[in-house]
Every structure is written in C-alpha cells, then in structure tokens.
Amino acid sequence: MAETKHVEVDLEDIEKICEEFENREGAVVQVLQKVQEKYGYVPGEALELVGEVLEIPKSKMYGVLTFYSQFYQEPRGKFILKVCVGTACHVRGAGLLVDKVREELHIEPGENTEDMLFTLEPVACLGSCALAPMAMVSGTAYGKLSADKMVSLIRQLEEETVHEEETV
C-alpha cells in the first residue's frame, strides 16, 4: 500500500461544522461524518479538535471513531469501489468481483491504489439484491455485474479522470 500524505486541517472549518450541530455532544457521530465528507477521512488532528470543541475526552473520541466501520483514519482513493458481498451477491458470485479488482488494481480490501484513484471496499448489502452482484461507486449503483463489466467500469473511471485532468 502506498505511503499517504495527510491533509492540513483548519480549526475554523472544524468549528463551523460543530456549530452546525449547535456544539451538541450527542451529535459527535454526525460531526465526524461531516468531517469525513470534507476531507475524505477523519484526520487525527481533526479528531482532536472536534473533541476540544465538543468537550469530549480523547479516549471517548477514539472509542466512537473506531467503533463505526465507516470512519477512516487514513486518506482514501478518489473512487471507492464498494463491492457488495451480501448474501444475494455472495450467492451470485460477488467473490469473483472482489478477486478481479484485487488482480486488476493490485490492492487488497480496504487498500488504496498507489495513484490514490481507487479504494476497494467490500460492503455488506447495498439493498438491490435483485440485481446481484452489485457495486456502488460515488453513489451510483451498478447491477448485474460480471468480472468483465467490473474491469470496464474501472477503465471508464480511469478515462474520465484523465479527461478531467486534461480539461483542467
């Protein structure tokens, strides 16, 4: 897995997010969700700042952060490949999809590609089991996938990125 650079965290941003929830201690999960939305993960510095603003002890902050599987302490790829490994998808060969991504991108579940473009994230069930096997990338759901379709999806996302970079 690639060495990752951490982002810089701005105290003002953190304060603003906490204020949105009226600095309520009970909103800590939502505050952390907003923080993650902003930075793509929850930087250690941000975690401490949130703790200070909401007056929550550090140990409890870590406790909450580590309990929920959707919080990340490391930066993640631009595209999160959420491959469903729920029951229905499992029965319809989700394992093959995960294997294909591992093979194509040389990453294990939870890891990022070196160019920080992709992260592989097996998830429990995306709620469209009738179209199994399923995957979701950036909020868009893809149904009835096969290993080949998975690869073309990856290629397509790569191409889009190249295009974007060219037009910038």
């Binding site: 999960v29 959707q70 919080f71 029965v91 429990a124 995306l126 709620g127 469209s128 089991c129």
Partner: protein
C-alpha cells in the same frame, strides 16, 4: 384550515391528468439498471417529437429483475407497463403511443387500471400477472405508482388522510386501540405487538417523549425498507406523526437510516421539507395544538446498531453497544426519556390501518400474524424483487408462483434462507410452511425482517452457514465473550470443514458451541448468530458429512474441495475449453476428449463456463 391545506395539494395533482404521463422506475434498482441514461433518451425523444407530457420518476414496484421499467399512460387510457426497456425499444414505444394511438405489443408487459379510463385490448392486467397475483399491496401500494418526491402525488393517493382523521376525531387511546385491534406486529424482525408497545410508551410518565424510526436495515439480502423509504417516504413520516400523537404528544422524532441508502436519505429529506411546508410537521400541526418534528440521523456502518438499544446509544453519539433490557426504550429511551422505536415497514402500515380500520387490516394474514408482510426475494429465483403477501402465504407459492421458480430450469431448488444472519434454511420438505412468525420458527428459521434468499442445488449449504457466521462475527460489538470468541471458534471450525480439513466430532462441537453462544449473549445478534449453523446441520447433515468424510462439496462451491472433470460421454471434443484455461491445465487434441490436470487447476471455473455442453463438472 385543515382541509384547505390538503385540498390545495390535491387540486395541484389532479390538474395534470389530461396530459400523457411517462413513469420511469428510478429507485436504486432502476438506477443500477441504467434508468438515468434512459431518462435522458426519453427527454430527447419528447423534445424531438415536441410532445407535451409529464415525466414522473417513481420508486420500486417490486419487479427489480425487470428494470428499467417504463410506463406510458395516455389520457383516458389504462397505464401500459414496459420492462427491460432499452434505447431501441423506446422509439417503438413512442411510435405506438404517440403516432399510432396504440401500445407497443411486442414489448408491453401488462396494463394497470386507471379510474374512469379505458383498457387496451389484448394486454394482461398487472394484477393477473403471476408475479402480482398472490400479492396484496398495502404498505407498498404507492411504491412505483407515485412520484416519491411529490407530496401532491402522495396526497392524491389518500396520503395524510389518516393523520387528519386522527387529529380531528380521535384520542390517543383510540389510536392505540385501533392499532391493537389490527394485530400489527413489529416488522423489524422481533414481531412485538405494535399496539402494546405504543400503550406502554403512552403510560410511561413525563411530558418529554420521542419517536424513533429504525431504518438501519442491516440484514444482507433485505431491501424492503429501502423500497418503502425511496418509493413512499411520506407514509413513514405519517406513521411517525401518528405515533407521536398516540404515545402522548412526542415533540421530536428521529429516523436512523443506514448510510448505504443515499437515495432513501435524499427522498426523506425532501419529504420532511415538504411536510413542514404544508404544516404536517412543525408547530401546531394542521391548526391543532400538536407540534412535532423529525430529524434524520445517518448510521455509520455497524450492523448491531439495528438492535434498538444499540441504535439509541448511537443516536446519542455513543459507541453503538446494546444495553441490557430492562429498562426498555418505552421506559428509558433517547436521552433517558420514554421512546417508541419502530421499523420502517411497521410505520408505513399505520396510515392504512387508521384510515381503513384495525379490523380491515386484521382480515388479512394468518391466525397469529395479521396483515401483510413484504419480502425481498433474491438468489436463484427467476423473478427476484420486492413482494408483499398476506402473512401465512406458503413458501412454495412465494417462490414458485410469484417468484416464477428457479432461474436455471435444470438446477432444482435446494433451500430457502429466511431471516438473514439470525435465520435459517428451509429445505424442500418445508416448502409448504406458511410464512408467518410462528410457523417459520417451527421450521427452524425466522421470518425476520423479510429477506428470502433462494438457493439451488449448485449452492453449498456449509458455505452459506459460514458466510452468515463470518458476517455476525465481523459485526459482533465485542461486549460479551461468548458472542465474540464463541463465534470465532465456530467460524474456524466451519472454515476447516470447507477447506477439506474437517474432522469427526466437528459437528457435535458446533452444536455444543451454538448452544453456549445462544444462551450467554446479551443481545439478539449473539443470541441468534448460531441459527444459520444449527438449522443447516438439522436439515443438511449429510452435506456437512460429505465435506468432512468424503472431502467433497456437493454444490461445487468450496474451492479446496472442487475437482473439475470432463465427462467423456458428454464431451463433443470441440476444444472450446482449452484456450480459456489461465493455468494451462486443460489438454485437448483435435478429435480427443479434453482432460483436466487437477494438480495445476486453480478452480477458476473458466472451462466450465466455456463448455457449451455441460461436459465439465
């Protein structure tokens, strides 16, 4: 004041009916099947032909396997439904309806009655399709029929009528009585009588109470709640507002929704905004002295947070650990105050019950499970999707009539998994089990929240049990040792078995551990975790034994146990299998039967798929 608000909206919605309408299924299942690009094509087509019509994105009608679904309703005619619509079919559909005043016979699936309109000749009614015939739609009645983002559409189909009735003519006690009379039991899996739960919360002292909607839907293989949230979000809100009234003027409600459902959250947000704008939420609802508002809380990826006490802990910003009951949420819930917590589908039924009466609802269903139940039908079944049937409908009817039987005609039914990680498998012999709370338990599974995964002979029972145990093991919150450690040891044994290293005595050990984990876990997650293992050992002992003694996987799923061989009699010596093998394990010479070298074979199955004659098994 009260009626005005409602009338304003219904007027708005009835105005458009003299225009043609195109409905397109845009729930997650539709989107995953390419509904978005299709919508663009429809827009282009409309522009090109300069048509004046209304395009309505709808929720899921249940035929997920047939998405994308597009319906066309011409003024004065029934609504025609098309399935698996592609760019090419689209032109023909437009031609038929807008140039020839007809419907596209080749592609139409069925027609749906429209009040006062005329049917087409020679097209089946939706209610007569096998998929819909055994279904009774109450909670999913509006799903797929209305635009979920339009409060006007909701109101036009009796939306918020129950709320008006409750606020103007009923006392909280009468509401609770009506719900009790309906016999409604919690649809989140537990099956606790909803009327009783509300009565308990009502009796709990204190002016500050809360209503919580459990939209965490964590069971893999289940998507009933998602369909309701995406397709009819106002129904859930209406149920919550009525609950707030019934338990004694709760002021605040929360919807705890899992983050994997971005579309459901979006639809709920819009619904809440619109409900506020029309004074169904907020201060002095519809001019009465009741005030109530709803906030959405997104889950952060922990299955155990679906358990009610863990959910409440998470809601308050804690680690989502279950707490021992009592105290029950009805006594001490959010912020230590009495709270009623109900599942999405439970709440979705409330409006219908209050509008039509408890007795009406109780006229459906079986003796102890009243009303209807939604199921997510998936796996190796032909028509997979969302269905709603009267409780007590036999499993056989669900899978073979509504579900249309097995997806691969040649591979027979092996078992149905009901109830997800807390449930179990029902074999062929159990196909006549009426699906309701009691009968499914007697058959060794649970009705649970409504996931039915159909498995054929090509599936492996041991692998399935291992799959569920791995799931619960991953999701155990770790509070109790039996759940955390016991499930790990069980998983190790199962892994050993599927790897071909099973030993005599493994099954007894699994049963012993199961009993221990079941009786020593704090919450339902640990308490039910061994169920998938126990039920499969009960019905499929031989299959476990085949793995352990003969080192053989009858379903050919367990990689380590698979031995691919070419059946000489079936091999046509075509050679298709040879080039696809990535490890060079297939040898074939012209005119000769192919051969597989098992010492180098990596069990990728490529040759099996390549062989058109099913000569490799």
């Amino acid at each position: 004041m009260l009626t005005e608000a409602l009338e304003d909206i219904s007027v708005a919605s009835s105005k458009v009916t003299d225009l043609p309408v195109i409905h397109i299924g845009m729930a997650t299942c539709g989107l995953a099947s390419g509904a978005r690009p299709l919508l663009e094509l429809i827009r282009k087509e409309v522009e090109k032909r300069q048509l004046n019509l209304r395009i309505i994105p709808t929720g899921c009608i249940g035929m997920c396997h047939n998405e994308p679904l597009v319906d066309v309703t011409m003024p004065g005619r029934y609504r025609v439904s098309y399935r698996n619509v592609k760019a090419m079919t689209l032109t023909q559909i437009f031609d038929a309806h807008f140039s020839k005043n007809d419907f596209a016979k080749k592609y139409a699936t069925c027609q749906i009655p429209v009040e006062g309109a005329e049917p087409y000749e020679g097209l089946t009614l939706m209610a007569d399709l096998p998929f819909f015939k055994g279904q009774v739609k109450i909670v999913t009645k509006r799903c797929g029929m209305i635009d979920p983002l339009s409060i006007a559409d909701y109101v036009a189909m009796d939306g918020y009528k129950a709320l008006r009735k409750v606020l103007t003519s009923m006392t909280p006690e009468q509401v609770v009585d009506e719900v009790t009379k309906s016999g409604l039991r919690g649809r989140g899996g537990g099956g606790f009588p909803t009327g009783l739960k509300w009565a308990l919360t009502q009796k709990s002292p204190g002016p500050e109470k809360y209503v919580v909607c459990n939209a965490d839907e964590g069971d893999p293989g289940a998507f009933m709640d998602r369909s309701v949230l995406e397709g009819d979000p106002h129904a859930v809100l209406e149920g919550m507002i009525i609950a707030a009234f019934a338990v004694g003027h709760a002021k605040q409600g929360y919807i705890y929704c899992r983050a994997e459902y971005p579309l459901a959250i979006k639809h709920l947000r819009k619904a809440i905004d619109d409900a506020r704008a029309h004074n169904f939420l907020g201060e002095n609802i519809l001019g009465t002295d009741m005030s109530f508002d709803i906030e959405i809380k997104e889950g952060a990826g922990a299955y155990v947070c679906g358990e009610e006490t863990a959910l409440l802990a998470s809601l308050m910003g804690e680690r989502g650990m279950p707490w021992p009951k009592p105290p029950f949420p009805a006594q001490k819930g959010v912020w230590g105050k009495p709270s009623v917590i109900n599942n999405v589908e439970t709440l979705g039924n409330i409006g219908h019950i209050l509008l039509n009466g408890g007795e009406w609802y109780a006229s459906y269903g079986s003796e102890k499970t009243k009303g209807t139940k939604t199921f997510a039908l998936t796996g190796s079944v032909k028509n997979s999707g969302l269905i709603e049937v009267p409780a007590g409908t036999p499993l056989r009817e669900i899978i073979f009539s509504i579900g249309g039987g097995m997806v691969e005609k040649k591979i027979p039914f092996k078992a149905a998994q009901l109830g997800g990680p807390s449930g179990g498998c029902i074999p062929v012999d159990g196909l006549d089990t009426p699906v309701d709370f009691e009968n499914v338990v007697a058959a060794g599974a649970i009705m649970g929240s409504g996931g039915i995964v159909v498995m054929d002979e090509a599936a492996c029972i041991v692998d399935t049990a291992k799959f569920f145990l791995k799931f619960t093991q991953d999701e155990s919150c770790g509070e109790c040792t039996p759940c955390r450690v016991g499930s790990k040891i069980m998983l190790d044994i199962l892994t050993r078995i599927t790897d071909g290293k099973g030993q005599e005595g493994d099954l007894d050990e699994l049963v012993r551990l199961s009993m221990y984990v079941k009786s020593n876990s704090l919450c339902g997650l640990g308490g039910a975790a061994p169920n998938p293992v126990l039920s499969t050992i009960r019905y499929f002992r031989e299959e476990y034994e085949a793995h352990i003694r003969d080192k053989r996987c009858p379903g050919t799923v367990c990689n380590e146990l698979i031995k691919y061989v070419v059946i000489e009699e079936d091999c046509t010596t075509c050679g298709l299998c040879e080039p696809v093998c990535p490890s060079g394990s297939v040898t074939w010479e012209k005119g000769e039967v192919a051969h597989i070298d098992l010492t180098t074979c990596i069990r990728c199955k490529a040759c099996v798929d390549a062989c058109k004659f099913r000569a490799i098994i």
